[in-house]
Amino acid sequence: MCGRYRDRRPPDDGRVQQFAPMARWTIDDVNRHAPDPKSLAAARKLARPGPWSDTGSTDTLVWGKCQGSGSTPYQVSVDLTGPAFKCTCPSRKFPCKHGLALLLLWVDGDGAIEDVTEVAGFASDWQADRVERAARTVARADRATSEPADPEARAKRLAQRLERMDAGVDDFERWLCDLVRDGLAGARQRTYEQWDATAARLVDAQLPGLADRVRSMGGDVHRRADWTDHLLTEIGRWFLAVSAWRRRDELATSQLGDLRTFLGWSVATDEVLAGRTVDDTWHLLGVHRTDDGRLQAQRSWIRGTTTGETAVVLDFAAVGGALRTAQVTGSMIAATVAFHEGAAPARATFVGEPRVTGRSTDLPAPTSFVDVLDLHAGWIAANPLVGRLPAVVRAAVAVDDRGSGLLVDVDGAGMPLAVGVDPWPLLAITGGHPTDLFVELDQGAARPLSVVVEGSLVAV
């Protein structure tokens, strides 16, 4: 190895070229990286500062957070030397529209990536676009109500549906009775396929709400330490729904609404829009989003600042599609809201396009668990079928000796965190100090969706 290469010299200077990626990109450079024209079109729509926050760039890297339809913004970064794209969105396109949009914004955003204070022009475009969409939605709703489908065909379809549901409820009742006769211990021996088969029959009978509950029970009986209590409570609730369905003619409209929600018989949008509506500024308390690989589902809890009424807005979309309610937790939303039939806290739908008027940094009327559970007892009495319920509590996040998380309120009353909630990030941001949290309570456990830390409301 002794000095054999000593006479070799670095490559001749004449061949040295300017290294292209370090120069500022052009729009054409970005266009070349689009997987297809559709992605590029989607990216162009996102290439404005509105959805972006925490943006920045170095010589080799551009990054930012893009508010998509969920509570957590997508984290996007582009490495200019590759270029390589990273994005936390579930899109299978590569690069996805967020990466392209970020580059477009960086290339042609009039300095928006460096200096996010100059967004007024873009933001107003965004606003105008949303207003236009709102107008379209209302027009669609008007058409729907003014041109009802053929009433005869409608009645026929309804009769068919009721027939299928009746048969499905009868079948399900026999299944419940068999379960009780054979004993709950036997239920634990059943395979997932057996639970799924029952769920599939319920889907065929147009009872998808029940089907979901039966399907998840297949896992719960193995996962949960309190599975006997849980299963017995659930089959009691299922039987309650069966009995209520048999006597549906005697139910009040609100009770029938709750039953339909439980069974999964959705109400047509035009029917909801024709029902009770409330005009208010709504405080978006918290958002929960799930994604089963095919479908994204989102529930957004809102509370009227004038009425104090709490409601939940549900949104569904195919994975990769856009959910309609894409507001940031803490948003104050001026909107007309149409309530579904049912006891409080009812499901609600925005009439037209909601307009964000500001952001709140806190949560309204935090209380202790005693008060929360009293309130919930009233709600459960009004609707025994109800599942998860919302609450604003003032409590400290804590972990026990085994590392399980719990909330401890000012009276020293504790509530475990729901299965799957990681207590450590919550503990880190709250430091174990009493904090206002928005939580969903379900089956004796809490799922925090937002928390007030250092004067701002943060999505969990």
């Binding site: 209590d229 504790g414 174990g432």
Partner: protein, 455 residues
């Protein structure tokens, strides 16, 4: 009339009505309709009692909340710095395997700026430190009150971050396991090496050899001239593993007494001969009257030949330049007597982590092993020399690949334009080299971005 409660119902339902039929007539104070089947009665009771149970749910008293986190007097790292950290930890900037030098730089810069890890990043940082023991002393320096409070509550993090005070008492230290002691020493050394030495001294005479050598191993963190007396003392230890650990640490303190003793023994043996165009560097044998016993203690070797070899490897390398008035590159280019001297210099450059010699060895002989041992940081000129050595290698891609780690760790960020120029001149191939250079540019420019974010 049979009024039943939840427990009666559950007991019957678990067994099943076929084996234990139960016909409730009153459940939750409500009359269960008569004339139904046993199963329907039980289901009705389940519905009634279930609602009663749910609406009657009470939160469990768990006593007062535990002690909340104390107030931090240091403020959090800036938003820009935090975003960079999040991106790097998430593997969004460089591959996870490449992120170490950037992450280390972030923590060092954060500590130097008197800032701490922001609350929202604590979990990510603690998880990273959990999987990388080398990061822990750096992390402990920037956790702040909130981070330490959090780590003490976690079953895994508390093992290495559970010090109740930053510096444990001697009694507590004495009661720790070897693993705990090493963790404690490394974290204390990061802030106060003297206090760490005092801890080691407090248990030294009673410790087993394994504990003593582990304790000396922790001197890696914040090694400095003040450590010399203790290490010198450890050279006389009864255990070879302790002596080896002390020797290895002292090798990296060339200005120590031991270093001077070795240099003094070596200097008279060095000479340069021959015509200006054909110089030859010679190393004489140890004179008969040399105090080999003292050398054997410093070097921990036995017979004469090995002592001489070992002396070259462990005596501070600058003695060669002082004795001959020539640069390392000049010396390496000469013929040597004995012939194996170059290999010994390479070993010395690696053991002493001497950048100038490591570069010269690579420059003249092509052996880059000593460079790979460097801890840096390298000056801009040193970095440029390393790059030009790699560039003129017959296989620059394998040379850069073998130096990838030390380049990422030690290279000065100001060489990014040099790398870009090189990259531009390649025109896209060989692909392996292009990728290595891009990767290095990315690492270095991110390091610069981190530095700027803390300015």
């Amino acid at each position: 009339m049979t009024a039943i409660d939840w427990h009666d119902l559950r007991a019957a339902a678990v067994l099943g009505s076929a084996r234990r039929p139960l016909r409730p007539t009153i459940a939750a104070g409500v009359v269960v309709p008569d004339g139904d089947t046993v199963e329907r009665s039980m289901l009705t009771a389940a519905a009634l009692l279930g609602v009663q149970r749910r609406s009657g749910a009470r939160a469990v008293a768990v006593g007062g909340p535990s002690e909340p986190a104390p107030v931090d007097d240091r403020s959090e790292a800036s938003t820009a710095a935090t975003q960079l950290l999040e991106l790097v930890l998430a593997g969004n900037v460089v591959r996870a395997a490449d992120s170490m030098p950037i992450v280390e730089h972030w923590f060092t810069a954060c500590a130097a700026a008197g800032r701490r890890v922001p609350d929202r990043s604590l979990v990510d940082v603690l998880q990273r430190a959990q999987s990388s023991a080398a990061l822990r002393p750096l992390v402990l320096g920037v956790l702040g009150e909130r981070g330490r409070w959090l780590a003490r509550r976690h079953p895994a993090w508390r093992e290495w971050a559970s010090l109740d005070d930053e510096i444990p008492t001697h009694e507590r230290f004495a009661a720790m396991s070897t693993k705990e002691r090493t963790a404690a020493l490394r974290s204390v050394r990061a802030v106060d090496p003297a206090a760490a030495r005092a801890l080691v001294a407090s248990t030294w005479v009673d410790d087993r050899a394994a504990d003593r050598s582990a304790a000396i191993g922790a001197f890696d963190v914040g090694l400095g001239p003040d450590d010399e007396p203790f290490l010198e003392h450890a050279l006389d230890d009864g255990s070879k593993s302790v002596r080896d650990a002390a020797k290895s640490a002292l090798d990296r303190l060339p200005d120590s007494d031991r270093g001077r003793r070795l240099a003094a023994a070596l200097a008279p043996l060095i000479s340069v001969h021959g015509l200006p165009t054909r110089r030859r560097v010679e190393l004489a044998s140890l004179p008969a009257e040399a105090d080999t016993a003292a050398l054997e203690r410093d070097l921990m070797v036995g017979n004469g030949v090995t002592v001489l070899r070992s002396l070259v490897v462990h005596a501070p390398l600058p003695v060669w330049e002082r004795s001959t008035g020539r640069t390392p590159t000049d010396l390496l280019a000469m013929t040597t007597e004995p012939p194996g001297l170059r290999d010994l210099w390479a070993l010395a450059a690696a053991a002493q982590q001497d950048t100038a010699w490591a570069i010269a060895v690579a420059d003249v002989t092509g052996n880059t092993a000593p460079l790979a041992q460097c801890v840096g940081p390298w000056s801009p000129e040193d970095t440029r020399r390393v790059l030009s050595i790699a560039a003129r290698d017959r296989s620059p891609e394998s040379r850069v690949a073998s130096l990838a780690e030390s380049l990422a760790r030690c290279a000065h960020p100001s060489v990014v334009p040099v790398l870009e120029e090189w990259l531009g001149s390649l025109g896209g191939s060989p692909v392996a080299l292009v990728n290595q250079l891009r990767r290095l540019i990315k690492i270095l420019s991110t390091r610069t971005a981190v530095t700027e974010a803390f300015r």
